[in-house]
Amino acid sequence: MKTTWRTWFLALGAALSLTACSDDDNYVQPIPPQPTEAGAYVLNQGSFNLVDGTLGYLNLTAGTMSTDDLFAAANEGRSMGDTPQDLVVYGSHIYLAVYGSNVVWVLDRTTRAIEQMITTEQPRDLIAADGNVYVSNYNGYVSRIDTAQLAVDARCPVGVYPEQMAVRDGYLYVVNSFGLTSDPQGSKVSKISLANFEMEEQIEVGLNPTKIIADSRGNLFVIQPGDYTGATLIKKIDSTDQVTTFAEGNLIATYGDALYVATTTYNPDYTIASNNVTSYDVLTGDTLATHVLDIPTACNPQCFTVNPSDGSFFVAGYPASDFTGNGMVYHFASDGQLKATYTTGLNPITVVFDRD
């Protein structure tokens, strides 16, 4: 998902040919051809302190979703543990952060067998860069995993409740959310030099930033839900670290020169009124297109991602009416047409593309 295509963009960013967007209702962005992503992992969070997480796999060629927990299937029935948060495919390994169990699993990319169990406190998010995998620890650190040793070789204090990370120009950016205690310090993006692995500064972005992604043009986009009672804002941090409010919405993804924003609106009785996706030009902030995707309001979206190989969308979430039932994954073509619906485990939290 995010990490994978973020990595793609980092690798291919300079080569991208940037095209101005049209204002018609078309999601298709002209971008250079990319390696085909034939499959995607779907990480199901389970239920905190109640049901362990599971790993599903979506075969995009055949259009089928695995029904078993692939983690257990590849590891003699072992469970990954309580509340997985993130997954990254990097090199010959899969890294899987399990928050409640204080573990990052390192799996073989082909067999998915456990290669290493790295104990690290409350891992939240993972990102790969320059031969390392970085883990944000909810107790105020980012840990660096040496991908040759498969062990944490350094950790850097980054302030309260760090969550998602992004990499730009030799720096790691991590959001400081307001966390478990509504901490007012949770209003920053911490900027860490990858060279010496030290925090250099904290950028104020407003209360409770929870997610951050980098685009192909040197911008960072931050989701900032505040105290969850008002509209969720999307802040843009430009290449000079200036912060501006870019748009409103709940989930974001980038593709080409566009930022896609998924927004869920609610009725007064907390049922879902609509799910829609808007695309913006990352340079100008102009709205490119708004589509009301045919995501049933029975789904409360939790994860939104764009397949970097073809620009199609994946939306995953839990059932809004009974929030404890099996999750669903919707696949939309880049023009917004629903291609397929899949059922997965409890609370799908992330979709990560991988070959085969």
Binding site: D52, D82, N139, L180, T181, Y266, Y270, A320, T324
Partner: protein, 661 residues
């Protein structure tokens, strides 16, 4: 409801209290105070129960091998006890498919209250201090009943031990109990008759348990034997009761109660992580009094009053918190008064009228909860017609709630009246067979947590409504040594208070739930005396409960059994008493349950049967008596969970020695 109506009602209740207390102070010439005093003290029950209200008392405690109050309550048909495991785990009781918030628990006739969480943790009461436990449901009623008790869908009535010594001779009871997992529990109780009319009981107990019991975790092909950690518990409690028979027909009971508990919380079991750093300290102090006056055989007046203070202090020490710890403190205060009167104008006709008022307030270090307060008014009018072998009881309960919150919008106010009807019929003059039919509507207000808890509570909540209807029969053998009761019921819960996610991180309480309940409770008690003072007793029970979610048709939870509710549960105990030794064996079993309403994969809790046994004997020694008892629980060391991820203890032993002077 408008404020004006509420004010009028409060004015009415105030007048009623003035009347009741004035009446109570009227002078009645004393007639044989001594005799009546004794009668009044030894018979602590002043109420008459109609219908079926099963009871467990001290004799059953050992005959059924009961080790705790929650254990005792789980032995009633129709109950489901939620148990977080071990001596320190929260235990609450649901009756006939309703959530535990619908179960009121009264302590010597006065309802215990927790307006914050709305349910009473039964783990804090030890059987040692109790005389009897009664479960009253829609199929039973009593005269006169406080309006607050009448307003509960189900009532657990706890009567404390009221052993009183013969005249002029104080009595002292010292108990020492200890057992597996570092449990030690000494207690002492003293009773004395200060004057012929005044009796005083003082008791205190201390409880310590390490609770570090082992449990088994299966993870794929691996099986691990682990121990509960961070599970230590220290609690003590003290209690004093004064009973004063003032005049003929006047009696005052006053009680002081103090409870202090400090415990570590082991938390749920989580793979690859064993440490937990949560602690909880709780305190409660209350003073309660009951004044009974019987001015004539046709009138019975009871006034009750209580002031209650309870505090809770939760700490989680982890470096994830910027301050190194998370602390949540709550202070609840409640003042309560109740006046009730039973009037028997004719032999067949009786009335009961009661009005209760309570003021509850919550203080907290959590800004959203701090300062929440509620005025509650309960009224109950009951009419009973009893002619020959037929009785009909009709009742109406009014509940009014007026909410205050200083920092934000107060929760909605409510006023509603709900009816209840109970018919009881004995077709034959010898009362070995009886039939009953009942209908009861009730509602419960949202708790302060449901109303105000940060990001979760909603002030827009309506009360949760319940409706019960059913039939039942009791069959007794002519000699009274065997009894079979069968009840079948259909209950519904409307506007069930349910948490729903508004977005990824924000959950809100709503009234969206609808539950449909069909149930059958069967209870059998047999007792057989043999020559040579041999006694056999058998207690058996079976409960069928189909408690289904009917909220949203087409959703994955629709039509499914509610979480943690077994469809089948039951058990039996068999005791044999001889002049030399008493012994009992018992089994408690429950069918499959699910930890989530969707029954999703990974949420099934497997059925279990737990086997236990006890041996006991009373030694009459020079000048005192010794009750000795050896208990073995979960004899087969079955691994099971009542609440997912909270393992229950395996095989455990305990020895109790009780010296009575």
């Amino acid at each position: 409801m408008t404020l004006k109506v509420v004010c009028r009602c409060f004015a009415a209740v105030a007048c009623w209290h003035v009347f009741a207390s004035a009446a109570a102070h009227a002078q009645i010439p004393p007639i044989d105070t001594l005799r009546l005093g004794e009668a009044a003290v030894s018979g602590s029950r002043d109420s008459r129960w109609e219908g079926e209200a099963p009871q467990i008392d001290t004799l059953d405690f050992r005959r059924q091998g009961l080790v705790s109050l929650s254990d005792a309550l789980s032995r009633f048909a129709g109950t489901v006890v939620r148990d977080y495991g071990g001596a320190g785990g929260i235990k609450s009781v649901s009756v006939r498919g309703f959530s535990a918030q619908h179960t009121a628990v009264s302590y010597d006739g006065i309802t215990l209250s927790d307006s914050r969480a709305g349910q009473i943790d039964l783990s804090r009461f030890s059987l040692e201090g109790l005389q009897s436990i009664r479960l009253a449901t829609a199929s039973s009623s009593t005269f006169p009943l406080s309006a607050r008790s009448a307003a509960a869908s189900a009532l657990v009535d706890l009567q404390t031990r009221a052993t009183l010594p013969p005249k002029g001779h104080p009595s002292l009871t010292a108990t020492l109990s200890g057992g597996s997992f570092g449990r030690i529990n000494p207690s002492v109780s003293y009773a004395n008759r200060l004057t012929p009319n005044v009796a005083l009981t003082v008791s205190g107990s201390y409880f310590h348990a390490e609770n570090d019991y082992p449990y088994t975790v299966k993870n794929g092909s691996e099986t691990q034997r682990l121990y509960r950690k961070n599970s230590r518990l220290n609690r003590w409690n003290g209690e004093s009761t004064l009973t004063w028979t003032i005049h003929n027909g006047h009696q005052l009971d006053a009680k002081l109660y103090y409870y202090d508990s400090r415990q570590q919380l082991p938390g749920p079991r989580i793979l690859y992580k064993e440490d937990n750093h949560e602690r909880l300290a709780e305190r409660e102090a209350f003073a309660q009094t009951t004044y009974r006056w019987r001015p004539s055989p046709r009138l019975n007046v009871v006034w009750r009053g209580k002031f209650d203070y309870r505090s809770s202090h939760y700490i989680d020490e982890r470096d994830v918190y910027p301050e190194g710890r998370l602390e949540q403190t709550y202070r609840e205060r409640e003042a309560y008064t109740s006046a009730s009167a039973a009037w028997y104008p004719l032999r067949q006709l009786s009335f009961s009228l009661s009005m209760d008022y309570a003021w509850s307030a919550l203080g907290s270090n959590q800004p959203s909860d701090d300062g929440a307060a509620r005025h509650s008014l309960w009224q109950n009018l009951m009419v009973r017609w009893k002619s020959g072998r037929f009785s009909l009881t009709a009742s109406i309960v009014g509940q009014q709630f007026l909410n205050h919150a200083p920092s934000e919008t107060a929760a909605q106010n409510f006023s509603r009246f709900t009816p209840a009807v109970l018919a009881d019929w004995q077709p034959f003059s010898r009362s070995f067979l009886s039939f009953r039919a009942f209908y009861k509507e009730m509602y419960r207000p949202p708790t302060f947590t449901e109303n105000y808890y940060y990001h979760y509570g909603s002030t827009r909540l309506r009360p949760e409504r319940t409706r019960q209807m059913g039939v039942g029969t009791t069959l007794r053998s002519q000699k009274g040594d065997a009894e079979l009761t069968v009840d079948a019921y259909h209950n519904t819960v409307h506007d069930k208070i349910t948490a729903v996610p508004v977005n990824l991180y924000l959950w809100r309480m709503t009234n969206t739930g609808l539950a449909d309940i069909w149930g059958t409770d069967v209870a059998l008690h047999v007792r057989r005396n043999f020559s040579g003072n041999w006694l056999l007793t058998l207690a058996g029970r079976y409960t069928f409960q189909q408690v289904e979610n009917r909220t949203t048709r087409g959703s994955s939870t629709y039509g499914r059994q509610l979480a943690y509710t077994p469809r089948h549960s039951g058990g039996a105990s068999l005791a044999c008493e001889t002049p030399w030794l008493g012994g009992t064996v018992y089994v408690n079993a429950a069918g499959e349950r699910f930890s989530l309403p969707s029954h999703a994969e990974g949420t099934r809790l497997k059925p279990y049967a737990e086997l236990g046994a006890a041996l006991y004997h009373t030694f009459a020694l020079r000048g005192f008596r010794l009750d000795a008892r050896l208990d073995a629980t979960n004899l087969t060391a079955t691994d099971y969970e009542v609440i997912a991820r909270y393992p229950m203890p395996g095989r455990a032993f305990s020895l109790t020695l009780k010296f009575i002077w």
